[in-house]
Symmetry: C2
Subunit: 245 residues, 2 copies
Amino acid sequence: MSEAEFLSTYDPAAYERPALAVDLVLMGVRDGRPGALLLKRTEHPHAGRWALPGGFVGLDETLDAAAERILRDKAGIARAHLEQLYTFGAVERDPRMRIVSVAYLALLPERAFSEALDGMPELSPAVIAVSWAGEAGGPVAALSTGRRAGGEPLGLAFDHADILALAILRLRGKLDYSDVGFALLPEQFTLRQLQDVHEAILGKALNKPAFRRRMLDRGWLEPTGSREGGTSFRPAELYRFRRPR
Amino acid sequence: MSEAEFLSTYDPAAYERPALAVDLVLMGVRDGRPGALLLKRTEHPHAGRWALPGGFVGLDETLDAAAERILRDKAGIARAHLEQLYTFGAVERDPRMRIVSVAYLALLPERAFSEALDGMPELSPAVIAVSWAGEAGGPVAALSTGRRAGGEPLGLAFDHADILALAILRLRGKLDYSDVGFALLPEQFTLRQLQDVHEAILGKALNKPAFRRRMLDRGWLEPTGSREGGTSFRPAELYRFRRPR
DNA sequence: TTAACTAAGATGCGATACGGATATATGTCA
DNA sequence: TGACATATATCCGTATCGCATCTTAGTTAA
């Protein structure tokens, strides 16, 4: 586009064009570990492997709208933090035909993550194993979470392992200068929960006082005045995320 | 994609699909100011406005390959730092038909920037006016650079103003933790030149000793032993960027 | 030959942020 | 009422940063 000569003589139907899809990395943190929701493929190609939920982009549909639609239809989730991740365009990434896919990152609080699992029986949770391995991030693997044999590496379909790896990397990078961390928490949360989420994503332990200071000094946290319940020890203050400015 | 049922019954030619294009933000720093290379549109739509060089993605062509091809054909540049920026998918972004565009950021050293201008007469340089306006970045405008009447705001075609704004924002964000800054410099450069590039992109002055320390402590700079020439004062040491690790 | 000039490069210092250890507070439970 | 577990606060040594200042090494011109 953006070149007049070519376009003015361009017949929209004259040339074959790649198909355009959107794939979603549905991420959440469960039991202190990052997880993603995957679909098991039942047909060729890559039958038996695990894939990210996705779908084609309609002609009258924004990319963001397509991501929201897939979030709704494939995960039964009305709203979530959605952000575009990267566009994957390798020629042979799908053996059937040329498909370029715009990957989106969807961040779910633990509650929404579980509800999606309950509501959509096709979805399966996977643990994302992140070895810290330095700032750049080491290898990323999706692990099964079954009771009987949890922790086995899952084979991912297409280039979805790359997409998953990029998702966790991006999340890591944005975690402490942006507000993405709060998208993984309920509306009210304690500082410990916030730290747990950060530690899960980063794959390493953080210093508690320093973490508290940083978070409180940022000015994004509003104390609710109430405290968490159900503990057998001193209950922590509940905070709410208040959008900066 | 990635959903078996849908795909197995999907006829590649059955549904209309968006066209897929790549647009390039060709950025460089000239005279201490960030600039971009634009094409003046001569036909409708947006005739007379300025546009980013771009083109459609071929069926057997990677997105990166398409970006490289456009860099070569439209700017006459064989190699440059190229990175994917964002994919723009608003439905009405092009009035003729639905075009989704993957925007790429191309970083050119001053030399390549000028050579592209000389070799491709259609290209025109624009100054990107960045008002610092806080960390998030204020409004971004493309300004003309003509001798007679420089500094006038240029009207950009399509959503290319958004793309340009995102490009400078992305560059800013990555500037001091990544190596993108070096892509805007020749192979050998002085610390002052490096600082000038950073200041141009950030739109604000930086502290000299602190900047030197940070850059040298990072360990990415290798002294060449030789010094810059042509100055009437103490010549500065020339450094070379040595890829970390 | 030498002094003025200019920017490179180095040094010193106060403020700030951070990791880490430790101390105190506050709830539950026996 | 006291043990217990965790939240919350405080203290301190260290690394980093902004900033001012000083020194160095070239050219230029008297």
